[in-house]
Symmetry: C2
Subunit: 314 residues, 2 copies
Amino acid sequence: MAEADSTLTKTQAGPDIVMVGSIGIDTIQTPNERRENVLGGSNSYACAAAALFARVGMVGVVGNDFTDEYRALYTKCGIDLTGLQTAEGKTFRWSGVYEDDMINRRTLSTELNVFGGFAPQLPELYRPAPYFLLGNISPELQLMVLDQAKRPRFVVADTMDLWISTAIEPLTQMISRVNMLMLNDSEIRLLTGEQNLLAGAQQILNMGPQYVVIKKGEHGAMLVTRSKIFLVPAFPVAQVKDPTGAGDTFAGAFLGLLASRRMVSERNVKEGLLYASVAASFAVEDFSPGRLMELTRDDVDSRLLQLKKMLSWD
Amino acid sequence: MAEADSTLTKTQAGPDIVMVGSIGIDTIQTPNERRENVLGGSNSYACAAAALFARVGMVGVVGNDFTDEYRALYTKCGIDLTGLQTAEGKTFRWSGVYEDDMINRRTLSTELNVFGGFAPQLPELYRPAPYFLLGNISPELQLMVLDQAKRPRFVVADTMDLWISTAIEPLTQMISRVNMLMLNDSEIRLLTGEQNLLAGAQQILNMGPQYVVIKKGEHGAMLVTRSKIFLVPAFPVAQVKDPTGAGDTFAGAFLGLLASRRMVSERNVKEGLLYASVAASFAVEDFSPGRLMELTRDDVDSRLLQLKKMLSWD
């Protein structure tokens, strides 16, 4: 049975954001480089990005091969690990190869290990948190997190083709309970059967969320609400070193910024998405969430200013 | 020998913009529809888009199968045809099929016909024009146009992989003489050998132009100067019917707007690119430049306002 890791610093008041997702050890090969056993998993990226803006509590599971060095990377950037379970066995591992375009990738191996038996358990301290990110895990587990949340103010969820194809019922239920769903073009088409993305997004809005974010990778994203569209361009990156985790970083930074503003307004949502775009641009400049974990808020603010200049037509 | 078509209305003062490129008759098949013998060619799209903003003179060649109905489409939207030659033979014809993604296409047939022997001849009235668009024809022909221009203020050029691979010398010479080069990612990489697009764009700036526009199709475009980047998002289109000519429309609308402003400033260049994005979004909503030719300036202005709203973060 998994056991909560309570050896690390806790924030007194509980986190602003609770994030759940995978935590893994990755081996990644790009056309130029190969990195073995780097910190990975959706939650590593999302939490590192969110921690730039707000107090983050991480919910997930690792095996007993997960060293203190990895843990130190999280705590160094202020992520609370009270919600991180350590289970008997090995940590989730993934390895993949990117093609020359640095977009398409092939999975070489996936070992679920302890992640296969994961059941998210929120520490008491986490349950009153106002912001939740349901990273890309099965919708059943995402619902399990929601059921433990006391009064969530804003919930963002991610999903993937696998759950759309194999778990549509719990997925639909999950979607009905979140404020924002983030997904890419092919996922929208698969979920709604609509070729037209805008029509697909409207269909998802009818399922419950107030916001749909269509992720377009290196081409940015688009926010769709019932009455509005907001275009979120990607910050142009000189050299992509490793695109892994860009989408998770995007989600994490968005929610981090929103939490830091203490109010969910259209303006804050938009600003959060621009910050998300900037954070993702940093994430792809290096392997693992390493680059994110070194960043200061000033670095991010300064690139946000650059992005706004690149978008300003007068 | 080709002969100038002088049967149509001439503007008294000569056009603001002279545009050269292909004029053809297309047969296009998309996953949903097939259209035979529709007006096509880069110059048809570019001129139709530019004519929304300024007086346009068209330079090109058609065969004696090119009916008055086609000509009437041009003149109806105000395009001057003094520079349109009619040669003995058949008009350039192209046919292609789009895949389900509405992006990738396969050429079924290309018949150069009279376009194969095309040598652009600028009517006297066109030579003092301040704005020139060198559409995607061989760089030798593009240079021939430049040599006939008396005092060009702003020249935009397009090119393609074929000329980069087979005519690099005249291409380099042409590039050194234009103000703005528009090309897509793969063309930048082929021309400069740079994988990194921003570095590639800087290399092209070193060849002469003050502006490089990187076209990204449905994902918009990016303007790169020596000191700045401006992001030009695509206007989200509900339903793409036929993507043919979107890039030519983009170029034509850009230059049309710039010409209408009578001054080349950074602000006008940026505004021109936003208009270009909007014009391209209309172009793909129907086959041939038909949709463009029906548009009013008000339609375009109103969509520009929508685009600006979609980009405004406060």
